[in-house]
Amino acid sequence: MKINRRHFLALGMGATAGTMLSPLPWKLTDDASIWTQNWAWTPVPEIGESYYAGGACTLCPGGCSLSVRKVGTRVVKIEGNEESPINTGDLCGVGISATQLLYGPSRIEGPMIRAGKRGEGKWRRLSWEGAEAQLAEKLSALSGSKKSVVALSASKQGSVALLIQRLLAAVGSDRFLTLPSVHDTLEAAMALTMGREPGEGVGFDTENTDLILSLGSSVAEGWGSPVRMVKTAAAKTMIQVEPRLSTTASMADIWVPAKPGTEGVFALSVAAAMIQEKLYDHLFVATATEGFDAFSAWLLENYTPKKAEAVTGVSPALVKKVAVAFAGARRPVAICGRGKGDTPISLAEALSVFALNALKGSVQRDGGLVKVGAIPYTLAMAETDDLGAKLAAVTEKGRTELLMDWGTNPFYTLATSQEAADALAAIPTIISFSPYMDETAAMADLILPDHTHLEKIQDVPVRAGLERPLVTLAQPAVDPVMTTKHTGEMLISVGKELDADAFPWDDYESYLEESCGEMWEALSEGGLWQGDIAWKRGLERMLGTSDRFTFVIPEGPVFLSANGDASRYPLTLVPRSSLRISSGAVADAPFTMKTIEDTVLLKGVSLVEMNPVTAKEAGLHEGDTATLTTSFGMVPVKVTLFDGVMPGVVALSKGLGHTAFDEYIGGKGSSYTALSGAMVDSATGFNCTWGARASLKRG
């Protein structure tokens, strides 16, 4: 028999069919996975008892309560606490990802002293006794100018804040500082219009409001208490004023694209329109306010919708539409503080917003702008006078001899220009209490690392524009992962060395209980204390209140203009906020980095958003590499085109560009803050920067 090509083919096909009918292919695929997937190094997480521990998040001012899921002794997941009136079982990505901060490579192992050059990353480990002795020694060694000691605190009130203030007092300094926010201006405005006792705050009863007029606030992207505000954004009628189509603007019923920084002027034009059209609450204005006549005359002279248009670029017709909507709502409220509210606004702008609310009677009532009672700590703290000026002094050369940082990371948050960064770096002694190797810890001379919020017990006073005072309790869900020590404990121990009378407590826990006083029962049982609302409801309110609202004519400018030469810097840079990026002291954990869109950060480079029209004029295209320059600094970026950003405006995400931490979260993109510079409000001394003049050049 002759074997031809056909036989070969038939044999081949027969073999294939035969093999396919046998179990061989299935055995082979199975074996392939056995031989290629089963590695000894693939982790097998240990099993154990599964249960939940309580806690409080401190990664932003929002005041969310946590349910920390544990397996055995390990923390495996963070969820929102269902009992919390703030976050009712939900939580933002930054809060959830804190498991990776807890166990991550950015943690500082224990107390350390600098061994190499500053910022070089060479350290020598110390014992806690040794580290505390070093701190006490550095503080007592300060000669002469005691006022040259600065302490920055993550919280304005609370048990640890008081200890920091007492430690400063022990060395004769009154420079107890906190990062400024819109609340600092709001409180100053409240003092002028409604009166204010120490400790009182400003809140917005957004739960009971039916319309929110947001003057640049990122309601859906992190303003106030983020989780609660996201719910609000999804549920309420909203009018959003800002130059870029943010998520909040997109969800709003009316978007008012006012020119950057002019939100306050827009608020005044709405107020003027309400007076012109007689849309304001006559009864409230007549019975419960003072100074209306002078204020309205001033307003109609300077801020009619027509006059304001020259500044804001918003047509009088749109102003009137907003005025009608605001006046027509039952319980509207105007809120302010651009972005997440983590930058102050000018006092004049805050007064404008107060006046707008008062014209509608939305002051001290359900759904309005309200006074928030002081938190009843038993041990009183003094409020820092001239906070604005004192903060500015931190970034001026030669004004500070020793800086202590508890959770504010000034080398990132206050370094708004190269000059400011240089001034910080020139401070002779820097001491960090951060649990993470943040920018400030990296530049420190001595680190006494605190526990993270998952490892310690501590009161967390919430300052996020809620309608009532509220304190949550951080609780140790897990034993300290590193050789860290509670900053409260450490301060008591060091304080005793300097002034034993000011630190009479044996340990932090007994001090905490004493300090919380009447709140302790609720805090220790439910992890949360909330006070009463400080306004009257319904008929009671109508029947007379002795508290009157005073219309105050602002003295300083409502609109702070951006510095810089328009021909050299033809564009205006504004920040972009996102709940996916923690723009505070601590960087995003790896899980949160994962969520950042590729129109924000791509292969480690920040993208700057610009309108296609602006891009065309500048000869730039999607994906181009460019350099973004302001008079305060320059950074490499890529260009992304977005129709929703106002022509002439470019937007850069805030919160990226950390230089310290670890390879997973540091060195990603560029910091908006470092380019934003200063716009000082003469009335308060705060840096109210909302943006900067900028140029964008290819290459």
């Binding site: 943690r107 989780v227 994962k594 969520t595 129709d643």
Partner: protein, 273 residues
């Protein structure tokens, strides 16, 4: 009408996502990653390699300033049932190793890592880019390994992974219900993303059970699914009152565009999964 008693009747778990409520906060993505031990990389901004079982996309209506609108699109695995829910999902049909399979009792498309040998046919077949491949062994830096959950197997290099509708949560709830001799309650089995969503945009439950919220929501006139014309029969429904968003649920190349106009929407980003 299915007359089988509730306890033994096959479930069809699904999700309804209200796009008019979604603020794109990304909480779902983080909750999912933490719940399911999703690997992290040093550079998560390289989207070709970054794994996110649920990914939130942003689309715009493509109109000029100031008429622009945006919408966020969370995309988990669609758990396609195939035509008539016969289990012929695009990925299941092509998997040579039976590593991914359609569970007729829950409607969930499984992924068994130790059975997968990394051919990635399923990734090519999936029209939703819901699947991710581990090119390298996941590295858990410092002590992050401590935070891994024992409920979900950590992956190894060479395997594909994807959203499981938090199936381990169903297993736990089912075990508990079995001991107590009852059926799993609606709120007992919820995915991690649903639980974390601050705006309440995500609803999860049994699409066939009239007592579950998703049953009513999927019949809403605002409801649509992604790429319905492919007949993949996804179990994730979206809600939007905006016509351009609904329109974006099916994408067309420009020559096939039924309106013959320019694209009604624009997907942002630079590709990847």
């Amino acid at each position: 009408m299915n007359t089988e008693p509730k306890e033994t009747r096959a479930k069809k778990f699904g999700m309804v996502i209200d796009l008019d409520k979604c603020t794109g906060c990304g909480s779902c993505m983080v909750a999912c990653s933490s719940e399911n031990n999703v690997p992290v990389r040093k550079d998560e901004s390289d989207k070709l390699l970054s794994a996110t079982w649920i990914r939130v996309y942003r689309i715009t209506n493509g109109k000029e300033f100031p008429d622009t609108e945006i919408c966020y699109f969370p995309r988990p695995c669609m758990h396609c049932g195939g035509k008539n829910d016969d289990g012929h999902s695009p990925c299941v049909s092509v998997c040579p190793a039976t590593a991914t399979d359609y569970d007729h009792s829950t409607g969930i498309v499984s992924q068994i890592y130790t059975r997968c040998f990394g051919c990635r046919y399923c990734m090519a077949a999936c029209p939703y880019h819901a699947r991710y491949f581990n090119w390298w062994d996941p590295i858990w830096p410092a002590k992050i390994e401590e935070s891994l959950s024992p409920d979900v197997s950590p992956r190894m290099r060479g395997v594909v992974e994807k959203c499981s509708f938090c199936f381990h949560r169903y297993q736990k709830a089912k075990d508990k219900a079995y001991i107590e001799e009852r059926d799993v309650e609606e709120m007992e089995y919820q995915t991690a993303c649903t639980q974390a969503c601050p705006s309440g945009a995500i609803t999860f439950g049994d699409l066939d059970n009239p007592d579950h919220a998703v049953y009513t929501l999927k019949q809403d006139k605002r409801a649509f699914r992604l790429l319905e014309r492919l007949h993949t029969n996804p179990k994730v429904y979206y809600l939007s009152a905006r016509s351009w968003v609904k329109r974006a649920g099916d994408n067309y190349v420009s020559s096939e565009e039924p309106t013959k106009g320019p694209g009604a929407y624009k997907l942002e980003g630079h590709g990847g999964h």
